[in-house]
């Protein structure tokens, strides 16, 4: 057990840091082309992801030809730490890079890999993920979007919801029911669906916070034809891909959470220096100091817990410990943002916010907006209640009812 890194790792860190300093997107280009959803690839974001790919830093654990350097886990972590320090994301289509690309690599046919893997990694195409449905939120087994199976194609009919970035995505990595007679968690398959195909209609689903800026959508699928060769993995075997997808999604997601939490804590410290509604400096309040200090411990603990499970995470395993981090991180974020609104008092009611770009809301918008948005964290990708079930049953071994 040790806190410090060895010299070779620190040398790698220095190299990464220098590279990021030289190659990160500039504020000017980011401002010029705001990112409007989680599937919106802009000029700068395509160029940035391309630079990462070429430098072997896009997916550092992968081989050169897939945008990596086959780095060992500890260097992957250091890379992520540096990305956190610079507050950089690798992609403006995170589900494409983090969930769908690994899924295609692991489950896709050679044809699909050829056609989609490199273009995804090079930010030439953008993706949305078609999992949630109105009747199947926490419960994927309840999904009812049908894909009728024909000799050389599928015909997909149904509705997806919470489809992030659907308005900008080129393709949907879409979970469909191919065998309605099979037990619920069987008979599910994954298709790659062209979002421009006839029968696809996308309708924005604005979040509680703001009507004008939308990442979520409903996607209505009405007789959408998907070629047979766009089946990912085996027919009716989508369940195992979903487990794999989520593993990819969760493998390093804690790092993003931890980084955002650090950022939130920094802004709470800045809030402490502001004048509160009663005319005192907010940080003069002992209660506020108590709460921020507690949240600071929690935010730091996110890192420590992540580091503890790190080796396992780096292997990309689905591990119930992810549920601990997901639950913990999302709930702390909610507590932190609510604390800020309460400390602001009446000032929290001014929710004017012009500088919206996708995801910025989490960091720079008025606290009340951030508080409302925090429910995304406790609801999506498995509600906090689902996470607690998983922890109780899979980590602690308590019996299912």
């Amino acid at each position: 057990m040790q806190l410090h890194y060895d010299a070779a790792t620190e040398a790698f860190r220095a190299e990464v840091r220098a590279w990021l300093e030289a190659n990160q997107p500039t504020p000017a280009e980011m401002r010029a082309e705001p990112v409007k959803s989680s599937a919106h690839l802009t000029g700068w974001s395509r160029r940035w992801q391309g630079r990462l790919f070429d430098a072997g830093l896009l997916v550092p654990g992968w081989p050169r030809e897939l945008g990596g350097r086959s780095l060992p886990p500890v260097q992957q972590l250091v890379f992520q730490e540096e990305m956190a320090r610079f507050a950089l994301d690798r992609s403006t289509n995170p589900q494409g890079l983090e969930i769908i690309a690994p899924s295609i690599r692991d489950y896709g046919s050679d044809f699909l890999k050829e056609k989609y893997l490199l273009p995804t990694l090079r930010a030439e195409i953008a993706w949305c993920l078609g999992m949630s449905e109105p009747g199947a939120g926490s419960d994927l087994a309840g999904l009812s979007t049908r894909a009728a199976v024909h000799e050389d194609h599928f015909v997909v009919t149904g509705q997806k919801i919470w489809t992030s970035g659907a308005q900008h995505a080129d393709h949907c990595f879409c979970f469909v029911r191919t065998d309605p007679a099979a037990p619920k968690h069987r008979g599910i398959s994954v298709l790659i669906l062209d979002m421009k195909a006839p029968g696809v209609r996308v309708q924005p689903l604005p979040a509680l916070n703001d009507r004008k800026h939308v990442d979520f959508n409903e996607a209505f699928l009405d007789g959408v034809v998907v070629p047979r060769d766009h089946l990912v993995g085996q027919l009716h075997q989508g369940w195992s891909i979903s487990a794999g997808s989520l593993a990819h999604e969760r493998g390093m997601v804690w790092l993003t959470s931890a980084r955002r939490l650090d950022d939130t804590l920094e802004r709470l410290r800045a809030l402490a220096r502001e004048t509160g509604p009663d005319g005192r400096r907010i940080g003069e309040s002992e209660s506020f100091r108590d709460a921020v200090a507690g949240l600071y411990v929690d935010a730091q603990a996110m890192w420590f817990m992540g580091y503890r499970g790190f080796a396992k995470f780096a292997r990309g395993q689905v591990s119930p410990e992810h549920s601990v981090l997901k639950l913990f991180g999302s709930e702390i974020t909610q507590r932190a943002t609510r604390l800020a609104t309460e400390a602001q008092g009446v000032d929290a009611l001014d929710v004017d916010y012009q500088g919206w770009t996708f995801d910025d809301i989490r960091g720079r918008a008025p606290w009340m907006r951030q508080y409302l948005v925090s429910y995304g964290g406790t609801i999506s990708a498995g509600t906090s209640e689902i996470q607690r079930n998983i922890i109780a049953q899979r980590v602690l071994g308590l019996p299912r009812r």
Binding site: G135, P206, L208, R211, E342, L349, Y375, R388
Partner: protein, 372 residues
């Protein structure tokens, strides 16, 4: 001692509830929020049916039903997150005028407000409201027989739309409080992007606004008591509107839990959901009971009235904190959408939490009153 709603009060509550159900559907609120519409309801009904005059003496054309009846009506407004001038005019502007105004001022301001012909607002320092202090950001000084106001008041409910603003300012004499009635046209109002657009807020700038003697309410330097008593009414009313909004949030949540199915069951059959709902009910019952105590304490001028008002706000604060959280969470994805009405009620409740002193500010006030 009787916490049960009397039959004639229940009739009033039922009639308000029925009228609001008819005239103030949530779609009306949504239309304000989404499109900036300015419906004449439910203010029109409030005026025509005399709700604006409930707590006004008969000598001013009022119904003299007392603050208890008014509180119950406000709670019903909260249940529908009713928009419009009712809350500010009847529970903020009127109390200050009535506490501090001379007879001719009552006739000039209170009577038309009670008749629904005048829309009022109350400009105080929300950050010092729990302490009942005037705050330093707006100062007044004497200029001959008149007074001059200089400074600002922020987050004034209906401050951009009211006809008259009742104002508390810091003066250098006596108890430090001066009260004034200022025409809205005399101030510079800057409307803000408010969390709940159906509760519009404005910052008011007073650039050496001259107030003639007939618009000075009471005696500057001897007005702290009147300000305190008026704030108590505003605080209790805000608490009750908040309780009403939380009541509906709980009802919506329970309905959702009964109808939404996951894992082949209504989610309301899951113990985690049940326990959250139970905790919401407990907080709601606590806030309602405390709010009702406070409205009676004010109606009867009970010596515990200041404590009661702060307790009502603190209890409403605890209530909205939990109820808003669990309402969104239990609604799951739907609760996260703009199209769900949950967000409208949450934003109303959070707005009421922030106005006239947060729960935390009122808890500090309670501690001071208890000499802790």
């Amino acid at each position: 001692m009787d916490f049960e709603i009397a039959p004639e009060q229940q009739d009033l509550v039922d009639s308000v509830r029925a009228v609001l159900a008819q005239e103030c559907p949530t779609a009306l609120v949504r239309d304000i929020v989404e499109n900036g519409s300015t419906p004449e309801q439910p203010w029109k009904s409030a005026r025509e049916l005399g709700w604006t005059a409930i707590d006004l003496p008969e000598s001013l054309g009022g119904l003299a039903l007392g603050f208890t009846a008014l509180g119950l009506v406000v709670e019903q407004h909260g249940c529908r997150i009713a928009p419009g001038p009712f809350l500010a005019t009847v529970t903020q502007f009127l109390p200050l005028v009535c506490e501090a105004g001379a007879p001719e001022q009552l006739a000039r301001f209170a009577q038309p407000a009670g008749a629904g012909e005048l829309r009022g607002a109350l400009a105080i320092d929300h950050g010092r409201a729990a302490e009942q202090a005037p705050g330093e950001s707006l100062r007044a000084w004497r200029d001959g027989a008149a007074w001059v106001l200089e400074g600002q008041r922020t987050y004034v409910l209906d401050g951009g739309s009211a006809d008259e603003i009742a104002v508390a300012a810091r003066v250098d004499a006596g108890d430090g409080v001066g009260l004034f009635a200022v025409p809205q046209s005399a101030v510079k109002a800057q409307r803000i992007v408010a969390l709940d657009a159906s509760r519009p807020l404005a910052h008011l700038r007073f650039d050496r606004v001259r107030v003639e003697p007939e618009r000075v309410l009471g005696t500057p330097g001897r007005s702290a008591r009147a300000l305190g008593r008026a704030l108590e009414r505003a605080v209790v009313a805000a608490s009750l509107e908040c309780v009403g909004a939380c009541q509906t949030l709980l009802e919506m949540t329970v309905e959702h839990a009964k109808s939404r199915r996951q894992f082949d069951q209504p989610i309301g059959a899951f113990q985690a959901i049940q326990h959250k709902c139970a905790d919401m009910l407990v907080q709601l019952e606590k806030a309602r009971a405390t709010g009702h105590f406070a409205m009676m304490a004010l109606a009867e001028d009970d010596p515990r009235r200041a404590l009661a008002a702060s307790m009502a706000k603190a209890a409403a604060s605890d209530c909205q904190r939990l109820v808003c959280k669990e309402a969104i969470q239990i609604h799951g994805g739907m609760g996260y959408t703009w199209e769900s009405d949950v967000q409208l009620f949450v934003k109303r409740a959070k707005t009421l939490e922030a106005l006239f002193g947060t729960g935390a500010a009122h808890r500090q006030r309670i501690a001071a009153l208890l000499e802790i």
